[in-house]
Amino acid sequence: MAAGLLIAGGATLVAGRSPDPAPVRIAAAGPAGQVGTGAPPSTAPTGTVAQLPLSPPVRLLIPRIGVDAPVQGVGLNPDGTVEVPPLERPEEVGWYREGPAPGQVGPAVLLGHYDTRKGPAVFNRLPGLRPGDRIDIRREDGGTVSYQVRELRQFAKNAFPTELVYGDTAGPQLRLITCGGTLAGNGHYTDNIIVLADPLPPGR
C-alpha cells in the first residue's frame, strides 16, 4: 500500500512537470523580414491610398488564422510602456489610441496576447501569418479597411524597434504586435513579433 502510494506520487510528479514551451518563432518572414535585430526596415509601397477620417477600429478579422475579435482602445501604462488588453479578456485586441486609426496616414498599431495562463489567446496563430495574407478592420463608422501582410519581424523586447513600429509613414500602415521567443523568468516572453501590413485599395 505504502509502496503503491510512493510510486503513484512519483509518477504524478513526473507527469505533472510541464516541459519548457517551445520557442515562439515566426513561420515565414517577408522580403526583408528576419529574426533578430539590426535589420533595416523594409519600405512600404509608395502607391497612393486615400486617407480616411478618424474612426476607431471595432473589430479585427484575419481569415487565414481564424481571427475575428473585438478591438478596444489602449493607452500607456504609468511607466510609459504600451497598455495591452486585460489578461481576463484574452480574445480582445487593443488599438493604441495615441496613434492613427486604421485607414489614417501613419502606423496604426494593434496588440493582442499570444497566450495567457488559461490557454491560447487571440494572436496565438499570428506567427503563422505569411506575406500576402489579408487583414480586415471594421471601423466605428461602419466602413472596413483592408490590409495585406508585407512581412513579419521578430525582435527581443530589450531591442524593440520603436522607429519601425511607431515612426511616421508616408501612407496608412498597420502593425500587429504579439509575443514570441522563449518564456523568461519574469513570466513574460523575451521577444515581440511584429506584422507589418500595407493597405489594400478599396474594393479589393
Binding site: 509502496a3 504600451v82 489578461l87 495567457t116 491560447p120 523586447k157
Partner: protein
C-alpha cells in the same frame, strides 16, 4: 562812433557771450558723455533695451521647434519598449499535479515508515 563800429561791438559782445556760455556748458556736456554720473538720461534707455530683447528672444525662438515636432508626429506619444502580450499558458494544471504527487509521495513515505516501526516492534515482542 559810426554805425559800422557799433555793429561790430555788438557782434563781438555776442560772440564773447556765446563763448562764455559754451565754456560753462562744455564741462557738463563732457561729463555727461563719459562720466559715471549720467544716471538720469542714458541708463534708462540703454540697459532696458539689451536685457529686454535678449531674454525674450532666446526662449521664444527654440520653443516652436519641439511643439511643431510633437504636433506633426503621427503617433502623439511613443511608448517605451516592447509590449507584454503573453504570459504562457498551463501553469495551473501542472501545479495541481505537482501538489497531488507530493501529497501522495509523502503519504506513501509515512505509510512505509509506519510499517517498518510495526515490524520492528513485532520482532522484539
Amino acid at each position: 562812433m559810426s554805425a559800422t563800429t557799433s555793429v561790430r561791438r555788438t557782434v563781438r559782445f555776442a560772440l564773447v557771450s556765446a563763448g562764455a556760455a559754451a565754456a560753462f556748458a562744455l564741462p557738463g556736456a563732457v561729463a555727461f558723455a563719459d562720466g559715471p554720473a549720467p544716471v538720469p538720461a542714458s541708463p534708462s534707455a540703454r540697459p532696458t533695451a539689451v536685457p529686454s530683447v535678449a531674454p525674450s528672444a532666446s526662449p521664444t525662438r527654440p520653443a516652436p521647434a519641439p511643439t511643431e515636432a510633437a504636433g506633426s508626429a503621427q503617433v502623439r506619444t511613443v511608448p517605451k519598449g516592447g509590449a507584454q502580450t503573453g504570459e504562457a499558458e498551463a501553469g495551473g494544471s501542472s501545479t495541481v499535479a505537482v501538489l497531488l504527487g507530493t501529497g501522495l509521495a509523502v503519504a506513501g513515505a509515512a505509510g512505509a515508515g509506519l510499517l517498518v516501526v510495526r515490524r520492528r516492534a513485532g520482532a522484539r515482542s
